[in-house]
């Protein structure tokens, strides 16, 4: 039948059934009102016959049942009234209702009377309950039976001879209550399981769905048991749990087993689970192989994890119960037993176990390693894990100790940690590596031994090493940069104050980054270089303490190291960066007093300038950096210094654009005048430079005049400022006439018709003139120089 038509059909069936039910209920009430018990019972029987239907799905049957349930409450009230009044005795009623024609209505009525019977206390509760639970066996149809027994459970709930209840006493003990509930549970489970085998084979899925709808009816019994006062830990341990587990295992039904195990864990207190761990866990391997045990086991471990942190008094119980050992072997057994469990399932189990262990035994690093080791075992023999669910779980597994311990050293000390990471494919390794780096940065952890650095960089090799995989090319450029920049930042966290060890660390780091290939070196080389330079400084500070010989050897080693490291950039190629780094090293060597080393670095910088810098903008920056560095150096003897300054000035004059040439050349003037006490103060060479720069400025003027622009005026004003600078510093070669000439030249240019007005140049000139005026008026030693200047 077409589903819609079937559904419509069912709906009609329900509506019809409801109609008839209400119809009979109406007459039943009329009979009750006129105290006509016989008729009332007859109508009741007819009403309850609606529940004999086989045409409704459980979902719809439930509606019918609920209506009948409501009606029966009124019947029960009537029974209570009548027995109190003495019109009928309970035993009479018990007898009378059995006249109902069909067994199902008969049993519903019997249960209803039974409730009254127990309340009246004319018979011991246990006897009535026993009777009823046995009689319900008469209904073997699953759906009808389940609802009938559910009815029995509902109405008996408040009448169980629990400890402290009014129905306890004499022969009635809580054991009877437990026995009753257990029996009802067992029978209900059997009925529920039987549903699986009913109906045509093709409708298996439908049956599964229908069974799911009814599962809470069965589970309710467990809930009732958990609520009984009399079910304390001992009772649970001795009687309740073993009986429940017996049924669960014996029913051999996948759906029932999964649901009921889940139910047990959720319904009974965690404290009980802890104390019955062995019993509970022993059931797992006995379950059907298709049961998804891992979710149940994970649920158990997670609940116990939460229980552990709920209060500090709880932890010792865990130790006493040897929870870890039991769970550990249970996990192992389950994985052994379920051969087909996918790897993601296996890892999920270990994640739950690890989380549990981190909470209960945070100090037992050996347990963590054990768990990781078990994972390694399961993963070995397989190629790199590619299943995304599994990789997600492995990432969760590896992240858990990081979050807990904050200090990555703990994770690094677990021998199995890197082994687990080995099984990740490259993409997942990168994900995990990023997590590791984040952890280090967030917690500001320093990794302070070369060994640990080595382990760490090996761990995160997905980010550090170049691989052949095409994945490298596919990576988004922005992402790649971010990735490599995080590695660069990490390098600064790899340090220690012990100089020997620090050198080992940077050597180790370099070893790893050299495997990164040209794309990564531009990011990773600078931090290594600066770490080395910092180490050098550190050594310099210690200079006084250590005997000079040893120290300088290590200094030389570091400079060698620096040289080799920067050389690696030629494979990228990255000449601009290399030039800058060479200049840094040159200055550092200068500070250590190592003339040849410094000279060598400057040579390398010049070579790069000559051979690799074609772009004129790049050249301008580079030459200023060279001049600026050279200007600060005092370690050179005359010959070396001459060679270098000559080269610098030469290149300055050869820059492409005239203004750039001019500026670079006058910058060179500072190479010959150092303001420090013992600094070179070669006035003539300074003047030579300035004159050369002035010639270039003039040439620029010629070129601009043909175009009618006036940019060169600024150059002249700059020259003027430079002349003034050296005048102030006391360079005897600077004459006031040269300055006057310049001032006149500038004035002429500004006022000239050929050039367009340049407000910024005018402002520059004005402020320069004000500067002169200021110093003239101020007088003093500086003012003396200005005496000659006429404005």
């Amino acid at each position: 039948m077409v589903p819609d038509a079937a559904a419509a059909d069912e709906e009609k069936c329900l509506t019809d059934g409801m109609g008839r039910l209400q119809h009979n209920a109406f007459y039943m009430h009329r009979a009750l009102d006129s105290n006509n018990l016989k008729d009332a019972l007859r109508y009741a029987g007819q009403m309850l016959s609606e529940l004999r239907t086989s045409s409704l799905s459980p979902h719809k049957y439930y509606e019918l049942y609920m209506r009948a349930f409501d009606e029966l409450r009124k019947v029960e009230m009537f029974f209570v009234e009548e027995t109190r009044r003495g019109t009928y005795s309970v035993t009479d009623l018990y007898e009378l209702v059995q006249h109902a024609a069909n067994i199902l209505p008969r049993l519903y009525l019997l249960c209803t009377v039974g409730s009254v019977y127990i309340k009246s206390k004319e018979a011991p509760a246990k006897d009535v309950l026993k009777d009823l639970v046995e009689m319900c066996r008469g209904i073997q149809h699953p759906v009808r039976g389940l609802f009938l027994r559910s009815y029995l459970s509902q109405i008996s709930r408040d009448k169980l001879p629990d400890i402290g209840s009014e129905f306890e006493g004499g022969a009635n003990t809580v054991n009877d209550a437990i026995e009753f509930v257990l029996q009802n549970f067992t029978e209900m489970n059997k009925l529920w399981v039987r549903m699986q085998y009913q109906g045509p084979i093709g409708e298996k899925a439908k049956r599964g769905k229908e069974r799911s709808e009814l599962r809470d009816l069965v589970g309710k019994n467990l809930h009732v048991l958990s609520q009984l006062e009399g079910v304390d830990l001992d009772m649970y341990k001795e009687t309740v749990l073993p009986r429940i587990l017996e049924q669960v295992v014996n029913c051999k039904d996948e759906l029932a087993q999964h649901y009921l195990m889940d139910c047990i864990i959720q319904v009974f207190p965690d404290e009980y689970h802890l104390q019955t761990l062995e019993t509970l866990l022993s059931a797992f391997p006995q379950l059907q192989p298709t049961v998804d045990i891992k979710t149940v086991l994970s649920l158990l471990m997670d609940r116990l994890s939460n229980y552990a942190v709920s209060s500090t008094e709880v932890l010792p119980e865990f130790l006493q119960a040897e929870a870890f050992a039991k769970l550990n072997s249970a996990v192992g057994e389950v994985i052994e037993a379920q051969v087909d469990m996918p790897i993601s399932g296996v890892i999920t189990l270990y994640v739950s176990l690890l989380t549990f262990t981190l909470r209960i035994h945070p100090d037992r690093i050996d347990y963590m390693d054990q768990i990781l080791g078990a994972c390694v075992q399961r993963l070995s023999g397989k190629t790199k894990v590619e299943d995304s669910k599994a990789t997600k779980q492995i990432v969760a597994l590896l992240s858990a100790p990081l979050e807990k311990y904050k200090d990555i050293s703990t994770a690094l000390n677990l021998p199995n940690y890197p082994r687990v990471m080995d099984h990740l494919d490259n993409a997942t390794n990168k994900v995990m590596s990023a997590i590791i780096i984040q952890n280090i940065m967030k917690n500001n952890t320093c990794i302070s031994t070369a060994d640990r650095v080595d382990t760490l960089l090996e761990l995160i090799k997905g980010l550090v090493k170049e691989t052949d995989e095409a994945q490298d090319d596919e990576l988004d450029e922005e992402d790649f940069k971010e990735e490599q920049n995080s590695v660069a930042r990490l390098i600064h966290m790899l340090r220690t104050d012990d100089a020997e060890e620090m050198f080992k660390i940077i050597s180790t780091v370099r070893k790893h980054i050299l495997l990164g290939g040209p794309k990564r070196l531009a990011f990773t080389v600078p931090p290594v270089v600066f770490s080395a330079l910092k180490l050098l400084r550190h050594l310099q500070n210690q200079d006084g303490d250590v005997n000079g010989q040893e120290v300088s050897v290590t200094q030389k080693k570091i400079f060698q190291f620096l040289h080799q490291t920067i050389e690696a950039l030629s494979s990228v190629p990255s000449p601009e960066l290399a030039l800058k780094l060479y200049l840094q090293c040159a200055e550092a060597a200068n500070d250590c007093g190592l003339e040849p080393v410094s000279y060598e670095f400057l040579t390398q910088a010049f070579i790069l300038y000559e051979e690799e810098m074609a772009d004129s903008k790049v050249q301008v920056t580079a030459i200023h950096l060279i001049i600026g560095t050279l200007q600060r150096m005092n370690v050179f003897g005359i010959e070396n210094r001459d060679t270098l300054t000559h080269k610098a000035s030469g290149y300055s004059a050869k820059l492409l654009k005239k203004p750039d040439q001019c500026r670079a050349v006058y910058a060179c003037s500072h190479l010959f005048w150092v303001n420090e006490q013992d600094g070179v103060k070669d006035g003539e060479r300074v003047l030579l430079c300035l004159k050369r720069a002035l010639r270039i400025a003039n040439a620029a003027q010629q070129m601009n005049a043909t175009r009618g622009s006036s940019g060169h005026v600024t150059l002249f004003i700059e020259m003027l400022n430079k002349y003034l600078y050296f005048l102030e510093k006391g360079n005897p070669q600077i004459t006031s006439s040269a300055i006057h000439d310049l001032i006149d030249l500038i004035r002429t240019e500004i006022q000239s018709d050929n050039t367009t007005s340049d407000p910024s140049a005018n402002a520059f000139f004005s402020s320069t003139m004000r500067y002169i005026e200021f110093h003239k008026q101020k007088g003093g030693s500086v003012g003396e120089n200005y005496e000659q200047i006429k404005v």
Partner: protein, 190 residues
């Protein structure tokens, strides 16, 4: 009251992993009107971070900056003051106040913010004020030994600017302040 943050030479990630935590907690978005950054960030992430602190961000190029499009120098007006920004590696001798003063005259500004030396300086001369906020991360410098992380906050109010310098010394943030007043007679010939 206009707050201007002067900051630079972070050298992330070449020479330092990040800004000091104490600085980060002080630099809260929405409180600062302008940021003048001397350069050498060096990467986009730092740019984005500064941008999050204040929408009006000005950066000049440092020699290690990843983004080569930053200008060599920049001028802007804030209130009554004309400010200029330049990293400083272009001015030889590096850190030389007289040479920097020449740049100041050239740009016709009251306050020149510059960096490169990683050493805090606030220097008043006849033409105005030169401020070097130092290195915000305490990054290595060939020119300065023992660099303490530092940055500068300027409070511009009318003709007065109060310069607050924040330095991280031995794990503690120390603040110092310097007052500068602009004389109304400092006019440029326009």
């Amino acid at each position: 009251m206009v707050l201007v943050l002067a900051i630079g030479d972070l050298h992330i990630p070449h020479r330092a992993p990040d800004l000091p935590a104490k600085f980060k907690s002080m630099l809260v978005p929405g409180k600062i009107q302008h940021i003048l950054c001397t350069g050498n960030l060096c990467i986009k992430e730092v740019h984005d971070y500064l941008k999050s602190l204040s929408p009006d961000l000005h950066i000049t190029r440092g020699e290690y900056d990843e983004d080569v499009r930053y200008p060599e120098n920049k001028t802007l007006s804030i209130g009554q003051f004309k400010l200029g920004l330049c990293h400083g590696h272009q001015i030889v001798p590096w850190g030389d106040l007289d040479s920097l003063a020449m740049l100041q005259r050239q740009l016709d500004i009251d306050i020149l913010v510059t960096g490169h030396t990683h050493q805090f300086k606030a220097y008043k001369h006849e033409g105005g004020v030169i401020i070097n906020p130092g290195s915000a991360t305490g990054a290595y410098s060939s020119m300065t030994y023992d660099v303490n992380p530092s940055f500068v906050l300027m409070d511009i109010d009318g003709l007065r600017v109060v310069v607050y310098v924040y330095e991280l010394i031995d794990g503690e943030v120390k603040v110092d302040k310097i007052d500068f007043k602009k004389t109304a007679t400092t006019q440029s010939a326009h």
